[in-house]
């Protein structure tokens, strides 16, 4: 096993990886940009080194500098987290050349799966169903028109090099296809340096369900119970759960085995996730494979009792996976809510700033993976995730109730957050019924109404009392002052 690992990331995921390092007796090294000098990941690390200026391209995306730090501090491996360099095959190659272990898949598999058209081909080779669409790239508009009319509108026009909700366009009709054809190609060329596009049928209200896999160097590939991540806003997941409300043992095994076949054909190693869309008849179709640890990995950890980061480190160190498929047992139900520095009350605008007060939920069945602390700053330069709240309970209904309880305990002052919206999601009738699909959040936002309870009155009362008592010092010791200053009230 490694003695020292550099975590090439920041925020909650860097903290997450550093925690496993500490538990395994491995020295954990953080890197930080100028604005992150006092970041929680720096505070949780055994060592930390500055890596450049705030913008990611001058720090967390600087492969050379990161490798240089790793070499100088003697780190034998680099964990990339998610985002930044996590799916950058060049970086994986560079690590290899420098004799540093990249904790992730081999760059070859990363490259194959990183582009949509080759990935779809691998899925077909592995007998994994793909969404009906063009066999590969669509060269010109006439071909596009003919493919689209064959599979039927609406269709998705996608950049092969896109991913993560970027580089795709919904096309309702032939007229729209004509209008969008050139602009989509141009955008793909501009954004991903590759104008290649292809067509897929657009499924009606699909679910997003994905399978986590992990593979060692010796050909063992294991799948985990599915995660349902259908609650998305702007193609970004915001709530994830495991198991899916619709999956039974048969579907779970069919999807799991499909994911294992795909990973095997691709020569995959380490942790990865095969994403599927699932239609209303519970047919599933390969969407893409994420070649890294995912934001939502904790729900899988909660229902299986396994530590995915630990397994990543073991696999990367060349050890055999210490578990077999039969050891993966699903227990209970886990739900994750992503808490963002976004103003849920006004269009989810980013809300960077300083966290003036912080109280996190805790207690039975609640896990918080946070990247902040009281007094910390949410910088404008990166993904505005604050933390993830993950709960576990024996049944889905109880898990949702537990999440509501946990969110009700969360207090963050100084910035605005997505917590209020997450709260209302947990009580939404479709969410509670498990009737999920990828456009449900948009529908809920459209229909959302203010709850009619007395809370606004309580808020007014609290605000006006704080105004009324402005300038009065907070109680330091209720022991002495309760009787003196609490019941009384000066003018």
């Amino acid at each position: 096993m490694f003695d020292k690992i550099l975590v090439a990331n920041r925020g909650e995921i860097a903290v997450r990886v550093l925690r496993s390092c500490r538990e395994m007796g491995i020295c954990g090294v953080a890197i930080y940009s100028d604005v992150d000098c006092a970041g929680l990941h720096v505070r949780k690390a055994d060592e930390a080194y500055p890596i450049g200026a705030a913008p990611a391209r001058e720090s967390y995306l600087c492969a050379d500098r990161i490798i240089d730090v790793a070499r100088r501090c003697g780190a034998q491996a680099i964990h990339p987290g998610y985002g930044f360099l996590a799916e950058n095959a060049e970086f994986a190659d560079q690590c290899l050349r420098e004799g540093i272990t990249f904790i992730g898949p081999p760059s070859g598999a990363m490259r194959l799966l990183g582009e949509k058209i080759p990935a779809r081909q691998i899925a077909r080779d592995a007998a994994v169903p793909t969404i009906p669409g063009s066999q590969g790239a669509v060269a010109d508009l006439p071909t596009a028109r003919s493919v689209a009319s064959q599979i039927g509108y609406p269709v998705m026009l996608k950049a092969s090099a896109g991913g993560g909700g970027k580089g795709l366009r919904l096309i309702q009709s032939e007229v729209e296809l004509q209008q969008s054809w050139e602009i989509t190609q141009a955008e793909a060329a501009a954004s991903f340096k590759d104008p290649t596009v292809f067509l897929e049928k657009c499924l009606r209200r699909p679910r997003h369900i994905e399978i986590q896999v992990i593979a060692d160097r010796y050909g063992k590939v294991i799948y985990f119970p599915e995660r349902e991540c259908s609650l998305q806003r702007r193609h970004q997941k915001i709530v994830e759960e495991s198991p899916s409300p619709i999956a039974d043992a048969v579907l779970r095994r069919k999807m799991g085995e499909a994911a294992v076949r795909l990973a095997t054909v691709a020569g995959y190693q380490n942790a990865g996730t095969v994403e599927f869309l699932v239609d209303e008849q519970h047919n599933f179709y390969f969407l893409e494979m994420n070649t890294r640890l995912q934001v939502e990995h904790p729900v899988t950890e909660m229902v299986t009792g396994l530590d995915l980061v630990r397994l990543q480190l073991l696999a990367a160190a060349g050890e055999k996976l210490p578990i077999d498929q039969k050891d993966i047992q699903l227990r209970g139900h886990a739900v994750e809510c992503r808490v963002y520095a976004e103003d849920a009350e006004s269009g989810f605008a980013p809300s960077p700033g300083r966290i003036d007060a912080l109280e996190e939920p805790a207690g039975p069945g609640v896990r918080v993976d946070s990247g902040v602390y009281q007094g910390a700053e949410i910088p404008v330069y990166y993904d505005p995730i604050i933390s993830k709240v993950i709960v576990w309970d024996s049944h889905r209904e109880q898990a949702l109730a537990r999440m509501s309880r946990a969110l009700s305990e969360y207090r963050i002052a100084g910035i605005r957050t997505s917590i209020p919206f997450l709260q209302s999601l947990m009580k939404d009738r479709d969410v509670m019924a498990g009737d999920l699909h990828t456009v449900l959040v948009a529908e809920i936002l459209a229909r959302e109404q203010r709850e009619h309870d007395d809370s606004w009155q309580h808020a007014l009362i609290a605000a006006s009392l704080m105004y009324h008592h402005r300038g009065r010092v907070p109680i330091q010791s209720p022991l002495n002052r309760w009787r003196l200053s609490v019941w009384e009230d000066e003018r």
């Binding site: 003036d356 100084g414 917590i419």
Partner: protein, 169 residues
């Protein structure tokens, strides 16, 4: 003490507070509350109202109060009747500037100069923190000035546009 409170949805409420020996009497519109109040550190407070406990975190910048309560956020503007400075007079036309809340890049202009806008209508789109954000008009009126161009980088606090509010009849 008499306060006027305005909620985000535009609703306005009147609040009267009066200190008593046993706590504070509050008249919220026409509902009466008799509460006890405990100010904790870190902008936390506890209000005991007829057995109910209100555990709130109250943050304010000037008259803008944010109250966190059971995982929800409430935004309230408080006006003290005794101290009221004359509010910007709506009976004359005024120009309301809208500034960037954070650094970013203008990706799209949705309105042009002189165009009439509703309250909350999107005027332009700024990309920041990897996300696109619509910047909306705070008032009904006309776009009297657009101070940025598409593609331009803006700093926090930089003027984006101005809305001219028409005198009310």
């Amino acid at each position: 003490m008499k306060l006027e409170a305005r909620l985000l949805n535009g609703e306005s409420h009147s609040i009267q507070l009066q200190s008593k020996r046993e706590g504070v009497e509050i008249l919220l519109d026409d509902r009466r509350f008799s509460v006890r109040f405990l100010k904790l550190n870190g902008s936390r407070c506890l209000v005991y109202s007829d057995g109910k406990v209100i555990d709130a975190l109250v943050h304010h910048e000037g008259p803008q109060y944010t109250v966190l309560l059971n995982g929800r956020a409430y935004y309230i503007e408080l006006t003290d009747r005794r101290l009221t400075r004359p509010l910007p007079d709506d009976s004359k036309g005024t120009h309301q500037p809208v500034k960037a809340q954070m650094p970013g890049r203008v990706v799209r202009l949705l309105k042009s100069q002189g165009e009439p806008v509703e309250r909350n209508a999107a005027v332009l789109v700024i990309e920041a923190m990897k996300m696109q954000n619509e910047i909306r008009s705070p008032r009904q009126g006309f776009v009297s000035q657009i101070a940025v161009r598409e593609g331009e980088s803006v700093a926090a606090g930089q003027l984006l546009f101005e809305i001219r509010v028409e005198p009310q009849p």
